[in-house]
């Protein structure tokens, strides 16, 4: 089963190690601006650090706009064919996540190729914000986070027969997952 590179932004610290290792792996240079994954920071409203990387969509909009069919989805990865690509950067604009990048020095768009199935960024992320998980387990971290947010919630208000009531939850403690 194909695996997905997923991002858990709540756990990202914005250290950008993923950017560095990606650029080193693919271009052999220390230059975070040549990475196929970038951390976007917003502050203060909302505070968010979000690594943006290709989702390897099964219906890739980038491929749809590609005039030379250089982008093709094969076994879970949207491949960029170096021979066919004409560097028009239509895909960069078409991607709804902005997850394809361009750099002055590079002839081709910079796009995540999952390092052939074993992404370097996932291995090096110090906080586990990047994970490689099977498709059927997608959304699991979100579900777990959601449960966690409930356990921290000490009371819940609800209405029963028009009457306002409160349930109190016991705190579960700080066990780590």
């Amino acid at each position: 089963m194909p695996k997905k590179l997923t991002v858990i932004p709540e756990q990202c610290s914005g250290c950008r190690i993923c950017e560095l290792v990606c650029a080193i792996k693919h271009f052999g240079v220390n230059n975070p601006k040549k990475a196929a994954i970038r951390v976007v920071n917003t502050y203060p409203h909302p505070v968010m650090r979000m690594p943006i990387v290709c989702s390897q969509c099964k219906v890739p909009l980038c491929a749809k706009v590609c005039p030379t069919d250089a982008l093709r989805w094969v076994e879970g990865i949207v491949h960029l064919d170096k021979e066919d690509c004409i560097s028009c950067y239509k895909c960069v604009e078409a991607c709804p996540f902005g997850a394809i990048y361009a750099h002055e020095d590079c002839d081709l768009p910079i796009k995540c190729d999952m390092c052939g199935g074993d992404p370097e960024c996932v291995k090096q992320c110090p906080l586990g914000a990047l994970r490689l998980i099977p498709e059927d387990a997608l959304g699991e971290p979100k579900r777990v986070n959601n449960i966690l947010s409930y356990t921290q919630m000490k009371e819940i208000e609800f209405y029963e027969k028009g009457e306002k009531k409160t349930i109190h939850y016991a705190e579960i403690g700080e066990e780590e997952l």
Binding site: S13, C15, L20, V29, N31, R38, V40, R49, L127
Partner: protein, 609 residues
């Protein structure tokens, strides 16, 4: 020997008066001798000082501000996001520098330069935009009075760039508050020695950098292997996870336990309600996320949010130990939400949390002792833990209103106006002391006294080691430890990396010589690098003594001699004046400086060519 890699071998010199920006070549001999960061800065400041006949008004046009990342900034190794800001400090009138984390230095390097120097004064409030190869000075008078965080947002919007890094000053910098800082990436500060005031005096609101060049590395694979070793070491350290979670906030507990936590303006060195402002409290009720500098796996910074009470909605990057101690226990504040709010206010206004906390504490004590009258405080009563009055005073300092106008000029001006405050304020050379009590450890006292920028722990931080094993230390051990620290710690600022992996998690310092080797291609041992760092220490000493400093300035705050902490493990301890002088003489002797603390004439020729 030539420099093979690791540098662009270019500097950018900006003259705001002329509106010019030119790139200059950096000769190999210069790079080899000064390495980068604070090393480059010290030499350029020294050259400028000579050019002006050793007379520089820190807030005058002629003061040169140097912004310098190091050769290791931005490459793949633990915590490589540091850059230094160097100039003649308005707080001390002597050499001053301060370093900043985040990602500003990385993009500055990626524009293709190793060092940026700025001189002159822009005709109106401006922004310096370095976009890859091009540097332009853009007038933006409308930014006047905008807070650091707001200005950063406006500048990004205006220059149409979300990916650039913006180092900006706030209202305090514009008003030339002598401890104004430079703020980048929404909460990273080059806090100390008042670099923000110098930018304000130059009408320079912000430096914006956006670069995309490859960072030169001699042996990418070698570096990768070495760095992976270092990252793995950190990851497997038993305290690594604790650092990720609490970061520097864990030091509050430690400092309280050891009796070095400043409280009530250093009247005491333990704080009874420390549990209300420590890391555990932060984790339980306030922390909403981690924050890291570039390429750092330790992510010692936190993002906190106040969820209820009167400060609801306050978001802040931080606090770290110094801010929390100086704005918390040192002011008698036990409400963590108020500490966060004060920290956020300092970030917005662009003032140093350490100096601010120190001076506000001194004002409260001065008022308590009757040195300051109610009329001096503009009729506003202030006391320990009075959150509203303290927050208001912080705003008054940054905006130079009422008594704030005097406090804004730093400890020297306060002492000039109320001479008795000399016994209340903790400062060395005009720079307010940071948050480690030195009465318990004579080596830490020596470190504060001999630090080139004033009472800051960045040059040597021997207190922890002395607490653990220093009871048996001889005078030799003490001076040697201080000197070793003063070689190694500034070396991190020269290389453009953070020292926390070494000092906190014990990453072997030999890694850094290897990193330097793989990045530059030059075989240099750690000992050789330490010697280069030591030369810079001599150079900053030369700058300071040329500006009139001597042995009498290597002194300590009055409280350290005379007022022992009231309670805690170090109750009753002070530093003996005669003993300290003996230690100082030994220190000079080991450094090869004369009895008056002046470096020998031989040094002067060392920094010619």
């Amino acid at each position: 020997m030539s420099i093979k890699s690791g540098y662009f071998k270019k500097s950018l010199h900006v003259d705001l008066t002329k509106g010019s920006a030119d790139r200059r070549a950096l000769p190999d001999s210069f790079i080899e001798k000064y390495v980068g960061g604070r090393g480059f800065g010290a030499r350029l400041v020294w050259d400028n000082l000579k050019k002006h006949n050793y007379k520089i008004d820190p807030l005058g046009q002629e003061n040169l501000v140097v912004v310098a990342p190091g050769p290791l900034t931005g490459v793949y190794l633990p915590s490589s996001g540091k850059s230094s800001f160097i100039a003649i400090s308005p707080a001390t009138g002597l050499y001053g520098d301060s370093s900043m984390g985040g990602g500003f230095g990385v993009d500055l390097r990626q524009t293709g330069i190793d060092v940026l120097s700025i001189i002159g004064k822009a005709p109106e409030l401006s922004v310096l935009f370095i976009d890859n190869g091009e540097a332009t000075i853009i007038p933006m008078p409308k930014l006047k009075g905008k807070s650091c965080l707001k200005a950063e947002g406006i500048i990004r919007e205006h220059l149409d760039t979300r990916t650039a890094h913006v180092a900006t000053i706030g209202p305090a910098g514009e008003n030339m508050v002598k401890f104004a800082c430079v703020n980048a990436d929404w909460g990273r500060n080059a806090g100390r020695t008042g670099i923000g005031a110098i930018m304000g005096s130059k009408n320079l609101k912000a430096i914006v950098v956006r670069g995309h060049q490859d960072l030169p590395v001699y042996d990418v694979n070698g570096l990768m292997v070495e760095s992976d070793k270092a990252y793995t070491y950190l990851k497997e350290h038993k305290y690594f996870r604790m650092w990720q979670q609490e970061g520097l906030m864990n030091v509050i507990e430690y400092a309280n336990e050891k009796g070095i936590l400043p409280s009530y303006n250093f009247k005491d060195s333990v704080f009874a309600r420390h549990e209300q402002i420590n890391g555990a409290t932060m984790l339980a009720d306030y922390k909403i996320g981690d924050s890291a500098c570039f390429s750092c796996s330790m992510c010692c910074s936190n993002i906190c949010l106040v969820k209820n009470g009167k400060y609801t909605g306050t978001v802040v990057e931080g606090p770290e130990y110094e801010s929390c101690a100086m704005l918390g226990s040192n002011l008698g504040i036990d409400n963590f939400a108020a500490v966060l709010s004060a920290n956020r206010l300092c970030d917005e206004l662009g003032i140093d949390t350490i100096s601010t906390g120190n001076l506000v504490g001194a004002v409260i004590e001065g008022y308590e002792k009757g040195i300051l009258a109610l009329s001096d405080l503009d009729g506003n009563d202030i006391t320990w833990g009075d959150e509203d009055a303290i927050l208001e005073l912080i705003s008054k300092i940054a905006n130079r209103q009422g008594i704030g106008d005097i406090i804004a000029d730093g400890s020297r001006r306060i002492i000039e106006k109320w001479p008795e405050m000399d016994k209340i304020i903790l400062q060395v050379k005009g720079l307010e002391q940071s948050a480690y009590d030195s009465r318990a450890g004579s080596s830490m006292a020596l470190a504060y006294a001999t630090s080139d920028i004033g009472a800051h722990h960045t040059r040597a931080w021997t207190i922890a080691k002395e607490m653990e094993e220093g009871q048996d230390w001889s005078d030799e051990d003490k001076t040697e430890t201080v000197i070793y620290h003063q070689k190694l710690r500034p070396l991190f600022d020269m290389l453009g990396v953070c020292r926390l992996p070494w000092i906190e998690l014990g990453l072997n310092e030999r890694h850094y010589a290897n990193f330097y080797k793989y990045v530059t291609g030059n075989e240099v041992s750690l000992e050789q690098l330490l010697e280069l760092s030591n030369d810079i220490y001599d150079l900053t000493r030369l700058i300071n003594t040329r500006l009139g400093m001597s042995r009498k300035d290597d002194s300590l705050p009055y409280k350290v001699w005379a007022n022992p902490p009231l309670t805690g493990p170090n109750a009753g301890k002070v530093i003996d004046r005669d003993y300290f002088q003996k230690l100082l003489s030994l220190y000079y002797q080991k450094r090869g400086w004369d009895e008056n603390g002046i470096p020998q004439a031989r040094l002067e020729n060392k920094f010619e060519d």
